[in-house]
Symmetry: C2
């Protein structure tokens, strides 16, 4: 049985959508056991309306506090000891489960992950790794996307090792890894990129494809994109804005007049498929790689369907022994990395 | 008469598309005078097939060399003295014209711009400022997009002043300027962004809207986005890749089967309008701001239509006295900037 802890109180539509998503995940995956942390009364009320599910595979741990989006993460994690987020991470740390899903404050999840759950030995900077759709109809992992604004070479090397292992457990065979840069040639980028590019070429256990450009995130053929957190944040949000702009332009054009509306009605199935090809929610949440257990940060505005995908994502990584694989990969390359880097932490 | 110099030999489809674009621009704008630098025989052959135009407003300056995309820019600019690019910049410097358009190697244009034409006094780092479409149906300027990978605060402040003036000459009233960051709050970003954000708030002559996020480039309401060249390169190329991915998904879905193809045929006008809303070529090229004259870098794969837009773009900036406005703006804020920056160049 794969045991996943759910932070049921974090997110714009919590706990309703988190409870509905949990029930959907339980019904789909018979080998899943869920522990929901949150207000017991509210969770039970939502469960009562959620339809049937196997009650023997769902447990509630009552908590009395909630960390909001507005709070300073470090302060909130240290003071709100009975918040759903803190309790969820504590139970995870204690071995009550193998993975965790939260759609709460990203800052709180990152902080609780490092302070309560702890990092994998040798990994000084865990990385946030969201999954975005691409033109091939698969998806691309991009690490880091905001956990570490400024990075040293060793951090980027770890992101490459960790996200490559993650892509494998998600079903990608021999995933291609690219370093996000301002051009594909070896001399491109800042000293950081030049150093990382040279080192990644020496690492045997990943399928390194060299430098890639921004356009390759959605239109290239790599499975994993490696970058510092500032760049990753800008890139993913730029893509998000482009997707939204395209949606707005489509809506405007298809509503321009009656004739356009009629054609929109005729093409509705196709329009839905196009939008489906760009569906962030269907891709799942962001894995927080480099911690001692599998943690998935779901979107703050997750609905049941997207939240269920995140639970499945966490379960799949647990079954694929992602954390063990990351440990082995970081260990196996520790010597090579330390020998080749000038500026270690 | 507004005089613009054309580097007729740079670009994937040179000189044909550059000549056709020049003729189109001449026919549209009766107050335009063009000087085409390039191989006279080739240019005349293309002109012979380009249809009628006012020959008294077009001049050819014969050159014998071409700088290719593969060459190292600094070396090429220094050694190929009779290349179309170098001659074009030399004539511009000598006062033969007020602006220049080239679809040649970006590196060569940046190098020739700085080495031959020269920078505006006080501006140590000119910035490359492309124009991208947005959801409002207007477009957004983003500076810098790759001329300066690493920047100091003063560089970003200059980008803001210069691109704001540019947006005004392009017809935007009181353009809104945003600083690209990983969040909107004042504490977000690296020390670079925090320092620039604080300083831009003190500058009266621009309409500063504060920090913006990647999604605001295409889906927000700012006219000008300020960032370092590495970040700008990643953001614009990420958006480009997203646009291409959407196009690929649309094509795939509309060709899925006969019924889809039929619906595509019915909706063709709308599909074209949607693609038109995302049309990079119609937006024009990238202005290279901070030089002593107006320079537009057209896309390397420019066709006649896009190249003509770039000529119009250059002429408009010349008529709006962009260079004089940038000089005045940089001068007027020099004291404020030097008083408030810790780390000056």
């Amino acid at each position: 049985m794969t045991r996943i802890i759910i932070d049921a109180m974090g997110g714009d539509y919590a706990p309703k959508q988190q409870v509905l998503g949990s029930v959907a995940a339980l019904n789909k995956d018979k080998d899943l056991y869920l522990i929901l942390c949150g207000d017991e009364t509210q969770i039970k009320a939502e469960l009562a309306e959620a339809g049937s599910y196997d009650e023997s595979r769902l447990e509630i741990v009552h908590t009395t506090e909630v960390i909001t989006m507005e709070e300073v993460p470090t302060k909130a994690v240290k003071t709100k000891k009975d918040s759903s987020t803190v309790v969820a991470f504590r139970l995870l740390k204690e071995g009550k489960a193998d993975g965790l899903v939260s759609s709460g404050s990203t800052g709180a999840v990152l902080t609780a992950g490092v302070l309560i759950l702890g990092r994998i030995k040798g990994v000084s900077r865990p990385g946030l790794c969201p999954v975005i759709p691409n033109h091939r109809g698969t998806n691309t992992m991009i690490c880091d996307c905001g956990a570490n604004l400024e990075c040293k070479p060793i951090n980027l090397v770890h992101f490459a090792l960790m996200a490559s292992a993650y892509a494998e457990t998600a079903g990608r065979q021999n995933p291609k890894v690219g370093l996000l840069n301002n051009g594909t040639e070896d001399h491109k980028g800042l000293p950081l990129h030049q150093e990382v590019n040279a080192l990644l070429k020496k690492i045997d256990c990943i399928n390194y494809a060299g430098n890639i450009e921004g356009r390759d995130i959605m239109y290239g053929d790599v499975d994993v994109v490696v970058c510092d957190g500032f760049t990753g944040n800008i890139a993913t949000k730029s893509i998000e804005g482009c997707g939204k702009a395209v949606g707005a332009i489509m809506t405007r054009e298809y509503k321009r007049n009656l004739w356009a509306k009629l054609r929109a009605a005729i093409s509705m199935g196709i329009i839905k498929r196009i939008k489906g090809g760009l569906d962030y929610e269907a891709c799942g949440g962001a894995a927080f790689l480099g911690l001692n257990k599998m943690v998935v940060k779901a979107h703050g505005n997750s609905r049941a369907r997207g939240f269920a995908v995140c639970i499945n994502q966490a379960a799949k990584a647990v079954r694929g022994q992602l954390v063990e694989k990351i440990k082995a990969s970081v260990d196996a390359n520790a010597e090579l990395v330390s020998e080749n880097l000038n500026k270690e932490e």
